[in-house]
């Protein structure tokens, strides 16, 4: 199989490392060669972060370049817009609708663009954009946004439910498992547009 590319973007500290770890384990258990590339250090302090997940028969480069991603998974809608050019024109977006003002917007030096979901759709992209923060709260913690997103993303893969559940079990602390299972379920069933 030709290599498939996923990029996970968000604001440093939102939990993208756990999401990429879980995806990596899932594709490995499905028998693929897998590479995951992460960002640590300075940019994790509230900066824009991107994580790459690649799987296929044989994966070489650990990173995804512009115009190469099959999936863009995003924790925040401005970040979806920022990394849009990494997506293939027929790529699929799964994005949280949450807005987090970056410092230039907070200080008034820049404006947060409006109606991003509509503008992205107008460019011909397929975008599935549930309010993951609201669903995470419903599951019991605003921190579960990453698992809500994974639940939503699972919708686009032909991978058995038990594989996702097993990966959750192996990667989240037991005391938060139930919460995360609920978050996954809510994400999965959030109506695709």
């Amino acid at each position: 199989m030709e290599t498939k590319n996923i990029i996970i973007v968000g604001v440093g500290g939102q939990g993208s490392l756990l999401a990429s770890k879980i995806l990596g384990h899932i594709f490995l258990s499905e028998g693929y060669d897998v590479k995951v590339s992460e960002v640590h250090g300075m940019s994790q302090r509230g900066g824009s972060v991107i994580t790459y997940v690649k799987y296929g028969d044989k994966v070489y480069s650990p990173i995804v370049d512009k115009g190469e991603a099959d999936f863009l998974v995003s924790f925040e809608i401005l970040e979806t817009a920022r990394w849009l050019e990494y997506l293939k024109p027929d790529g699929q977006i799964v994005s949280n609708t949450q807005q987090i003002d970056p410092m230039p917007v907070i200080t008034g030096a820049a404006k947060y663009p409006e109606n991003l979901v509509e503008k992205i759709r107008a460019k011909g992209f397929k975008i599935d954009a549930p309010d993951c923060l609201e669903l995470a709260r419903k599951a019991g913690s605003p921190k579960a946004v990453n698992i809500v997103l994974l639940g939503r993303l699972s919708h686009y893969f032909d991978i058995k439910e038990e594989v996702w559940q097993d990966a959750l079990k192996k990667n989240v602390p037991p005391k938060f498992l139930e919460l995360n299972q609920k978050a996954f379920e809510l994400g999965k069933n959030a109506g695709a547009e």
């Binding site: 604001v11 500290g13 770890k21 990596g24 384990h25 490995l28 060669d33 897998v34 590479k35 995951v36 590339s37 992460e38 960002v39 640590h40 250090g41 300075m42 940019s43 994790q44 302090r45 509230g46 900066g47 824009s48 994966v59 070489y60 480069s61 650990p62 990173i63 370049d65 512009k66 115009g67 401005l78 970040e79 817009a81 920022r82 849009l84 050019e85 990494y86 997506l87 293939k88 024109p89 987090i100 003002d101 970056p102 410092m103 230039p104 917007v105 907070i106 200080t107 008034g108 030096a109 820049a110 404006k111 947060y112 663009p113 991003l116 503008k119 460019k123 011909g124 992209f125 605003p142």
Partner: protein, 580 residues
């Protein structure tokens, strides 16, 4: 067992299986996780040292004692540890000794993007460069064989994309390799008479290592065509394979010092056109040219920033995909101090007092970005104090009343103490602020000699910063709570006007530490808020303007109340709900 592993974790696994007994490191992105993974193996003694030089010397001592030893650091860390490294090349080792240096091309989290490959040549120490996790694992084990066979320290050079990428690794079992310590003054006491005899040994060893480099299977030719030949190493191997597949022959170098002269000549002779693809400087390319071989590389590829498959494809005139973006201007999202960061209040006070702030390496370097824009210099670990001393000595009263050094607790332990010794000894009228957040923050929460805990989180020796500064000869030492703006303001004013050296310890644990208890998030009473934006001056990511009124993001706010102290209308009120 097949497992998906971070490059750093795979390297740690290799160290474990190689029978390593001793690990001493100082954290630094992208090298930190090697040591954090090692600590999980009970068979290995593992510690955070105060700095890389101490770590390197400690690892040397462990090797001398007959136990395989390891020391890991980022590229700039090796500058600190270069002193022992260069002479360890002369003494050689007893049990195997391996050093990791992790470069950060692209400067994801660094102050420069120096190319550490020069160190191998300068110190005459062999260097291995893995290109993925499986090689990081394999090379770690091989490095100990080379170290003991050739009586030399070995450097493994990682880079961000190998250190922080996960790929598949098949692991094995640990083997033990212990030696006895034997007194050998001629080998281990590097005074001139002995060192003169050791230098020829080093040169002879390099000759033997050159032969090894020709024969080792980690330097290999994958010959597929005589049209194009590419010599490459590290993460660039992966990009080259992705771009060219079988349409270029590849000489993949796992050992990049010493380089295999004959193998390169043979490869060059077989291909019509020869290229070197390497990140940062033209280290391999210069060597190939020195052999009189026509080669291209840096004439089409940059010496700046990290590479990617598209960058290489473009350089070779191949088509690359292009993406589609929106017409909207997308505002940048630079890193910021977290909500509740204890550094924020202190920096606000420094800004208010119009201080000249000479900074250091850590999260608090973010005091240089808007709206605080307070730090005016950041160079390297510990430089804040040395630079403040020199600055004040030259400008005297003009600067002494407004210039401060700011340095974190871990950075102060790393190399701030010697700077303070100079302030105390040569008596510059300097004020040093130690930002004690009780952890090494930027690299992801590592313990240090001031926290009272070791790398395992067990109780350990604890250095008392106040007592230390006093013992060094600083008479004026005081502690403030950076959440209390009035207290910070008073301390800064008083210490800057005092006619002698002084230290202010700004103490409050990092807001991200799990054991730190937070108050409930605040909210804005929109009846009281007059939209004056006073609270916006501190650059808290949890506060934004919602129309003409301030708004608090309850998912970020930790109730530190620094903003409340700036509000003229007392519009910030506690939500009193459950803890954030």
């Amino acid at each position: 067992m097949k497992e998906l592993m971070l490059g750093n974790k795979a390297l740690a696994r290799g160290l474990y299986e190689a029978g390593v007994c001793f690990v001493s490191s100082y954290p630094g992105t992208p090298s930190t996780e090697i040591t954090e993974e090692i600590v999980k193996y009970d068979e290995i003694y593992c510690e955070w040292a105060p700095n890389e030089k101490v770590a390197m010397e400690s690892a040397f001592g462990a090797s001398l004692a007959g136990r395989r030893a390891f020391c890991g650091q980022k590229h700039v860390g090796l500058n600190v540890a270069a002193d022992p490294l260069f002479t360890m090349s002369y003494t050689g080792v007893n049990a195997g000794l391996v050093v990791v240096v992790a470069d950060d091309a692209g400067m994801h989290s660094s102050q420069n993007e120096q190319d550490s490959r020069y160190y191998a040549r300068a110190a005459k120490v062999p260097m291995l460069e893995p290109s993925d996790s499986a090689e990081a694992y394999e090379f770690a084990k091989l490095a100990y064989e080379i170290s003991e066979q050739f009586d030399t320290p070995v450097i493994i050079k990682m880079c961000t994309r190998v250190a922080h990428s996960q790929s598949v690794v098949e692991t094995g079992e640990r083997t033990e390799h212990k030696k006895d310590y034997e007194k050998n003054i001629a080998k281990y006491v590097m005074m001139p008479g002995n060192a003169k005899k050791r230098h020829p040994v080093v040169e002879e060893r390099t000759k033997n290592l050159k032969k090894y480099s020709e024969e080792t299977p980690i330097n290999k030719i994958e010959f597929t065509t005589d049209e194009i030949g590419i010599i490459t190493a590290s993460t660039c191997c992966q990009y080259v394979k992705e771009v060219f597949g079988d349409s270029a022959s590849v000489l993949k170098l796992g050992m990049t010092y010493p380089l295999p002269e004959q193998m390169i000549k043979n490869f060059a002779a077989k291909v019509k056109k020869l290229y070197v693809v390497e990140e940062l400087d033209d280290v391999i390319e210069s060597y190939v040219k020195s052999l009189g071989i026509a080669v291209e590389g840096k004439n089409i590829l940059p010496v700046i920033d990290e590479f990617s498959q598209n960058l290489i494809a473009k350089a070779f005139g191949k088509p690359v995909p292009s993406g589609i973006s929106l017409e909207d201007e997308i505002p940048a999202r630079p890193p910021v101090m977290c909500a509740g960061c204890p550094h924020r209040g202190l920096f606000y006070s420094l800004k208010k007092n119009k201080c000249i702030v000479l900074g250091d390496i850590g999260c608090y370097t973010l005091g240089a970005v808007p709206p605080l824009s307070t730090i005016e210099m950041t160079l390297c670990m510990g430089a804040s104090i040395g630079a403040t001393h020199g600055f004040n000595k030259m400008l005297g009263a003009e600067s002494e009343g407004k210039t401060v050094a700011v340095i974190g607790d871990s950075t102060f332990m790393h190399s701030g103490m010697t700077g303070l010794a100079n302030v105390a000894y040569n008596q510059s009228n300097s004020t040093v602020i130690i930002l004690d957040n009780s952890i090494t923050g930027m690299t992801g929460h590592q313990q240090n000699p001031t926290t009272g805990y070791n790398i395992k989180g067990d109780p350990a020796g604890k250095i008392n910063l106040e007592a230390l500064c006093k013992a060094m000869g600083i008479n004026r030492v005081r502690t403030v709570d950076p959440y209390n703006l009035k207290e910070c303001d008073a301390a800064i004013k008083e210490e800057l006007s005092a006619p002698e050296p002084s230290v202010i310890i700004s103490r409050r644990p990092c807001a991200l530490l799990k054991h730190v208890k937070h108050k409930p998030p605040l909210k804005v009473d929109t009846e009281k808020c007059i939209g004056c934006k006073s609270c916006m001056k501190i650059g808290c990511p949890a506060i934004s303007m919602d129309g003409k009124k301030a708004r608090v993001d309850s998912t970020q706010c930790v109730g530190c109340e620094v903003c409340s102290q700036l509000c003229p209308k007392k519009a910030f009120v506690s939500t009193g709900g459950e803890q954030a």
